[in-house]
């Protein structure tokens, strides 16, 4: 393991401190319990809070700011944050209109946020994101994992909340956006959890992990490494299959195409993936009306990428397009 760290136990706080210092115009770091908030507290809106294990940067802290999150609770690397963090964050950012938690669907995250919500002295609701189609068998009752599509939910709900919409409206819209999203990822290398000090999984240079999770969880299957177009074809097929299975009419729809890097894959390759994916979706009758390519939901240092398609109606498109001003996503402002 070769990383820029001092002591493994200090990595999180040192990194958060650097983040807060680099973006001191936008965010504020609170320690013990750890959470980050907007520099300037938003008034008279539903407070949007997300969080999860660290190692997925810029998710979630990078999305704090106008038009997106009010606060984020970072856990240890790949470990859900604890309820005291969510409680403290909620106390801090609550502006009288309730709190919406946006939570990636993992047992740990769900339970920790759930306990926080139970203890919260004011109204809250939760949107669970579950865009990963790698987990597609309905016998696995935990349901699908939340991956890169989460930031789309955060962006769109964040925008709606800025308009003064109430908690129920934000929750309903968040669920809708989530259900319009499907993602599928692939890993070429494993990530290394710093505290573990060795790769989470072994993978040969002739192999890839199809359907990998953003924590390096094994995916659908181990397959032979092959050319990019063949890999992208399978990712796109899995996404289309999912929309079909769920009875969503992707054909003829407008969509946002997000090609997300897991951190170890260069932009050059991500754009190559985008090129192929966009053509394949077009063949399926989808109009790629919005695009995002880059490292938006990472998996520590893993080489790999995921493709996310979010079907757009006018409402989602409008909220995607609205101004946003965060460390990692900014436009029109």
């Amino acid at each position: 393991m070769k990383k820029f760290i001092n002591h493994v136990d200090d990595l999180l706080v040192e990194s958060l401190s650097g983040f807060a210092a680099a973006h001191s115009d936008l965010v504020q770091l609170h320690l013990e319990p750890h959470y980050l908030t907007r520099k300037h507290k938003a008034l008279d809106k539903v407070a949007i809070i997300s969080g999860g294990g660290s190692g997925h940067e810029p998710l979630h802290s990078g999305y704090i700011g106008y038009g997106m999150l009010d606060a984020a609770c970072p856990g240890h690397v790949f470990t859900s944050p604890t309820p005291d963090q969510m409680l403290a964050a909620a106390e801090y950012v609550h502006a009288g209109k309730g709190v919406l938690f946006i939570v990636k669907n993992y047992s740990g995250d769900v339970m920790n946020f759930e306990m926080a919500a139970e203890m919260l002295p004011f109204e809250s609701a939760t949107v669970l994101t579950s865009d990963d189609v790698a987990v597609n068998n309905s016998t696995y009752t935990t349901g699908r994992r939340g991956v890169a599509g989460t930031m789309i939910v955060e962006k769109c709900v964040g925008s709606l909340a800025e308009t003064g919409a109430n908690l129920q409206a934000c929750k309903t819209f968040g669920d809708k956006v989530n259900s319009n999203i499907a993602s599928m990822g692939v890993a070429l290398t494993s990530c290394t959890v710093p505290a573990a000090g060795r790769p989470t999984f072994d993978i040969d240079h002739t192999e890839l992990e199809m359907g990998v999770g953003i924590h390096g969880e094994p995916g659908r299957r181990r397959e032979a490494m092959r050319e990019a177009d063949a890999i992208v074809k399978d990712l796109v097929a899995a996404i289309m299959e999912d929309f079909n299975m769920r009875g969503l009419h992707a054909e003829g729809s407008e969509a946002l195409l997000l090609v997300n890097g897991f951190a170890g894959t260069p932009l050059m390759e991500l754009y190559l993936i985008y090129n192929t994916a966009a053509k394949l979706f077009a063949k399926h009758g989808i109009t790629v009306a919005r695009s995002l390519v880059g490292n938006y939901t990472t998996a520590l240092d893993m080489a790999g990428a995921s493709i996310t398609l979010c079907l757009l109606d006018e409402e989602i498109k409008q909220h995607w397009d609205n101004a946003v001003h965060t460390p990692a996503l900014r436009w029109k402002i």
Binding site: F78, Q85, G108, M111
Partner: protein, 212 residues
Amino acid sequence: MSLINTAFIITAAKAIQKTIVENEATLESLDREIGDGDHYINMKRGAGVVMEMEAELLPLTADAALHKIGMKLLSTIGGASGPLLASFFMSMGKTLKENGDDSHAKIAAAFAAGVEAIRQRGKADVGEKTMLDVLIPVSHAFTLAATQQHDVRLICATLIHTAEQGMLSTKDLIATKGRAAGLGERAIGHIDPGAKSCQLIIKTVCNLVLNK
């Protein structure tokens, strides 16, 4: 007469920490195989924070100590195991406080309440390849043995055995809860990390009792 005291809880916590550290390689590789590789780190963090509570726990009654440990674990471990183990200790403490701890049956009932809290929090049951595959059978065995007024040595031996069986049973299961639920068939052949750590904890505590 009280059957648990805080001094024993602290002794047990120390023994548990030792066991976890001794089993680093096993716990870490199990969670790497079908999880995200942090289970050992999470358990070690949890055990470590309880160690630091010694002075704070000592003056407390056993039920209050268990409840306090649960609260502390809740804000320390995180992940899936954090709220589950925290719920266990908080519930067990609460039940002991309500019912007392003057019989094995009462302790078994408190243990069962802890396990039930995990079951409710995790919305899981036996056969889903989680720590509950250890805890539920152990809880049943405990209740049964305590009701049958078995000798404490026999109870402990039974629990160690049951935990072992439960842990091993996870090997051939497909997971339907927790992170491994994403794996489908690929989870088969791997023991669940949470089941393994619970089995180790039960064995450690029972051995302490046996060697008292």
